[in-house]
Symmetry: C2
Subunit: 413 residues, 2 copies
């Protein structure tokens, strides 16, 4: 074993970096401060009180009255897997609305848990028309229609108004991965008719990765509780098992997680208290700002970023009509080395912008403005820095145009 340095690598001391990529972004300072509170016993009344408050605070964030609105202890991807493994038993069929990397992730998880799936697809940079979803749903008759809301890999936001009616017609439930939009664009779980919606803290909610808010409709809860099989070591007379097939994961068994968050207070995992404190504060910050104001702020940031980019003579990636407000894809101009620009942005300006995946790797940058970073001055700083880096790289572009264009676009309602 190599010797450790005597100072054990020293105190944590990250650079003060502005994270303007597709997430994670800088945490709101109130969130980090809230996470400094000391721990409580798992079933202490103050702790279960905080759990109940988290449930109440996340209902408006999800646009729902759902009783079962809680946290999965893990990153956003943990929430996705918990939803899918709890909703779909092996052999069940899903329909995946697929328009980017995270639609591929849904397929991947479904495959691993033994579910079947079919897809209804759009090319990267577009969204799937609702009538295509309806047509596919009628053909496939899925148990669950699964979709991403905002896919950061393509910067597209799938319209979901009306998806509930399609699902109802074919007797399906709807699952939505809202990781990248929760707290930044409207999530209208009840109005959309989305049964299960999951998110993360590290995007528009301005917290750290590691806790996944989730909301579950009564219909989805019925389906999940029908699969309830309380683990041997904690089985109780007052909790009846369901007739459905046991859920293939213990950790992601939402029936047990609900019984932990509900009045039964089943002893499942030990709640990640500090992450819960953080998630609670994320929702408090968002609700204190007011959700409509918050969505408008993200929209202004996206508008300003897009206008600034275009004023620089660069092209914005993807379908204008369905862009996420909080992440903007930018075509890397011919002759410019995208990674060199990203490196210069980081080393000269302490600003991080994102690279891309799959078919877009090396072809676009992704510029985020979300949560605590969806602010006018941060958009302006990012644009000014990008202009300087492109100039330094020898790319010819109109100088001094991006910032005023962004200011004007921010102020345009």
């Amino acid at each position: 074993m190599p010797e450790l340095p005597q100072n054990l690598f020293g105190q944590i001391d990250p650079p003060q970096r502005l994270l303007m990529g597709p997430g994670p972004v800088n945490a709101h300072p109130r969130v980090l401060r809230a996470m400094g509170a000391d721990l409580l016993g798992q079933f202490d009344p103050e702790m279960t009180g905080y759990m109940n408050e988290v449930m109440a605070l996340y209902r408006p964030v999800f646009g729902t009255d759902n009783r079962w609105t809680l946290l999965v202890d893990g990153t956003a991807r943990a929430g996705i897997e918990a939803a899918l493994v709890s909703l779909l038993a092996p052999g069940d069929t899903a329909l995946v609305v697929n328009f980017g990397r995270f639609g591929l992730l849904l397929q991947e998880i479904l495959h691993r848990i033994g579910a079947r799936y079919e897809t209804v697809d759009a090319p990267w940079g577009e969204v799937v028309p609702l009538d295509a979803i309806a047509e596919a749903a009628r053909r496939v008759r899925p148990t669950v229609i699964c979709t991403v809301h905002g896919d950061t890999s393509t910067t597209m936001a799938q319209p979901l108004e009306g998806i509930g009616a399609i699902a109802k017609e074919v007797g399906a439930l709807v699952y939505v991965d809202a990781t990248a939009t929760l707290g930044g664009m409207e999530i209208a779980s009840d109005r959309w008719g989305a049964d299960v919606v999951t998110g993360g803290l590290q995007k528009c909610l301005g917290g750290p990765s590691g806790s996944s808010p989730i909301t579950i409709s009564d219909a989805a809860a019925d389906r999940i509780l029908n699969r309830r099989h309380v683990e041997k070591g904690i089985a109780r007379d007052d909790i009846e098992n369901g007739a459905g097939r046991m859920i293939g994961s213990n950790y992601f068994d939402l029936a047990m997680v609900m019984d932990y968050w509900g009045p039964k207070r089943l002893n499942h995992h030990t709640e990640a208290t500090t992450m819960l404190y953080g998630a609670r504060e994320c929702a408090r910050v968002a609700l204190a700002e007011g959700l409509p104001a918050r969505f408008a702020r993200h929209a202004a940031a996206g508008r300003a970023m897009t206008a600034g980019i275009r004023a620089m003579g660069l092209s914005v990636f993807g379908d204008d009509a369905h862009r996420m407000t909080n992440v903007t894809g930018v075509w890397i101009p011919d002759g410019v080395d995208g990674d060199r620009v990203r490196l210069m942005m980081r080393t000269h300006f302490e600003i991080e912008i994102g690279t891309a995946f799959g078919p877009l790797q090396g072809r676009i940058w992704r510029l985020g403005a979300m949560g605590y970073n969806a602010m006018r001055h941060k958009v302006l700083i990012t644009l000014a820095a990008l202009e300087a880096c492109l100039q330094a790289e020898g790319h010819r572009l109109p100088l001094g145009a991006a910032v005023p264009a962004a200011v004007a676009a921010w102020d345009a309602a």
Copy 2:
């Protein structure tokens, strides 16, 4: 939707409570402070640098040279499930060393992931003799021998010296759940011959729940990487899939998690940065104290708690020879209502002590002294408070005996 209170439930403000149950316990203040650092981009060099430091810091904590020593993003239970689902494919056979609730949890998870298992058992309050494990291993010829190290449900610590030789003889790997002992009792992964060991922060490491340190031997890594199937959306030419069966979970796929922590930096989940900062500081606190000093401190705390309990005339639960140093079970005396005493401990003294599970529910209390709370004054305060509560409940006991007995036992080497 019911109206939320105008102050959105107010700032987080938990009571200053001393957590002397079986965990979670109070976090070390240094850990909470470290978690206040701002976030970094997922692949920023400082972030991957911190990941590498975490790997280096946890090797001595686990008593190993294993290259693959990292964090699973979730509670301790997430680490357990990640280990089992990655090591065992459906139909593979495990041998479970079963002596408490967490042995039942191992069985539960194995069942859910489609593995077979047999058990070698001890009654609650005892451990499993090594020759019984050897005999069972020869009979069952398992792929993996799975055991808990310290099972808080029974306060017993399973001796593991020699388990590696047994496994070797039958061609098995060894998995150890060290959630409740990591950082408090010696974990000698390499000397024991344990291939995969997992832990949590919220016990002897004095951090919050929500991150699960794990170490993986080369032999176990070979087995896991042979099951490598990189998800579609992030497949790369430089990462070859294995011939083994795909792991049944995406989130808990340790092959992808290793490729994320390793030089390939595969884009799997978004690391829970704040929890990683906390995990890093937990290890720094432990290593700065020195592991032998830390184990001695936990042993002194357990000795003092046991001596104090006995001086009060109460009986300690379980086999003296194999007690965990950091959790002590106490028989609730006849005529005393255990829950009333716990309530009085909390409401009068702001001290939490634990209840129990399964066959021990209502019959024993569990008193923990771990991490930041394995301190002489905290043990003394707890004993003095318990004495006062028992007296208030009308239980006759020798007054003033517990504290001096505990002091003497603390000081006895």
